[in-house]
Every structure is written in C-alpha cells, then in structure tokens.
Symmetry: C2
Subunit: 121 residues, 2 copies
DNA sequence: TGTACTGGTAACCATACGGTTACCAAAATA
DNA sequence: TATTTTGGTAACCGTATGGTTACCAGTACA
C-alpha cells in the first residue's frame, strides 16, 4: 500500500460554497431562473409561469438557489419576491479563471494544427 | 390557469454541456483532480494516491470528468494517463461572466453602505 | 364572512450520485 | 510460467435530486 505523501486537506467552507454554487448552476431550470432574475426581481408565480413544471418543483429549485446564496426571497403579504444575488458567483468565476491559460493554450494548439495541416490557401 | 407567453425553449446541446461542466465542477474531489492535472498529465494511480478513497471511486470521478470533456485519457500499456482539457470551461466562464456586473454592483452597494453607515473614521 | 389566489409543505416515486467491496483482465516482470 | 501491478467493472448501499399529487396556511377581496 502506498500511503500518500500529499494528502488532500479536508474541505473548507470556501470549497463547500463552490460545491453549492457549481451545483446550483448545473441545472438548466435554475440557470434560466437566474437569467430571468437578471432583469429584475420577480414573484414566484412569475418565475414559474414559463416552465412546464409544477409549482413545488420551482419551489425546490428556488430553495437550492437560496441555499447557494444566489437568490434572496422576501415575503410581502402573500407574494414572495425573489431577487438575484450574484456575489457567490465571484468565487466560481475566479476558480474557473485559473484555467483560462489552459483553454487559450489549447485553442492556440488547435490554430497551429490548422496552419500546419492547411497551409496558405 | 395562466398559459405562459414566454415558454422556455428545450435544452440545447450548449446548455447540456453547461450542465455537464458545472456538474463536474460541483465536487471537491473532481476540482482537486483538475488542479492536479493543471501541473501536467498523470496516471490514474498518481491521481488516486492523495485521496482517502478507493480506486473505483476515483475511476467514477474520472469518468464524470471525461463525460464533461474536461479530462482525456489515453491508455499506454497497462497505465492510463490522464490530461487536462480545459476548453469546456470557456463556455462556463462566459456564462458566469455575464453576471459580473451584478456582483460588482452588489459589492459597490456594500461599500456605499459602509461609507454611509460608518462615516470618516 | 366566504372565497379565491399565492405559495409552501408532506409524502411519494424513479433515478442519479458518491461511496464501498469483490472480482476480473491485461501488461510487466521475477 | 507464475506473480505482481494497474486499472476497470459489477453489484450493492444510503442519500440526494428532480419531479409529481394532495393538501394546508395566510392574504386579499367580493
């Protein structure tokens, strides 16, 4: 057996927040809800209307988004009003940005391949 | 009943790729594997060593990453060598970047709150 | 006051996820 | 050839996810 000399540290709260953020973004319905909220706060009913899906399903998606801190809800009378809070996305964007150099380099490699494989046309 | 005037279109392949990408990134083990691969290709054994986790578990994570196109594997003899392919992250980064203006604006609001709530110190 | 509307909760279902152990196949090597 | 090593597959388990229907609570309003 090979005991690792480079153990992985336990997951800290930053990492857990990334779990929640990326997890919340991994569903098309939730991304669609966020896109809708980007043009302003909205009631749950308004949010649910475009979807061929029951209210409870939307409620669950909203709870996932709240859990991730991406949506905040305030109840005013019998109407729940949801609004976007994009701040948790910042850490996610930073995490992904680290890999920008890699995908650019890989696109460069693709370009070179085309240049060599398909010389001056 | 209110039939929506803004139906949600069916999920296209771009959106499905985002599902896979964000889903793959939502697990700390997989993010850790990607970080490891950022410093160069690696065998499955080398990848698995740091984790207090069985090989099949790592294999499953690798399959999720391959499914998302983030890792490519070539088998050379009895050794599998994995390498990073960051290109699918580009679309994810673009998607999140759309919300940059929102989180910056919300951070600005926070700053203003501090300035007003805690005047010249 | 009765009724309709907004939204949430409970219970349920099927499937996916993240992990395990046990086992197998192919390649390298003594 | 026998053995070790690398890695994958199969079967299983508990829990989470994404959806449903049925029902409930509070608010607005005729």
């Amino acid at each position: 057996m090979v005991t690792s000399t480079h153990p992985i540290p336990p997951e800290d709260s930053r990492s857990q927040q990334l779990d929640l953020t990326f997890g919340a973004l991994s569903d098309p319905t939730r991304r669609s809800i966020l896109a809708r909220l980007a043009s302003g706060p909205s009631t749950v009913g308004e949010l649910a209307a475009p979807f061929a899906m029951s209210r409870p399903a939307i409620s669950k998606h909203l709870r996932v988004l709240e859990q991730a801190g991406l949506v905040s809800t305030t109840r005013d009378g019998r109407v729940s009003r949801c609004s976007l809070d994009a701040r948790p996305m910042r850490a996610a964007a930073d995490w992904v940005a680290f890999y920008r150099v890699f995908w650019e380099q890989q696109l460069d490699a693709l370009s070179r391949w085309f240049e060599e494989g398909e010389p001056s046309s």
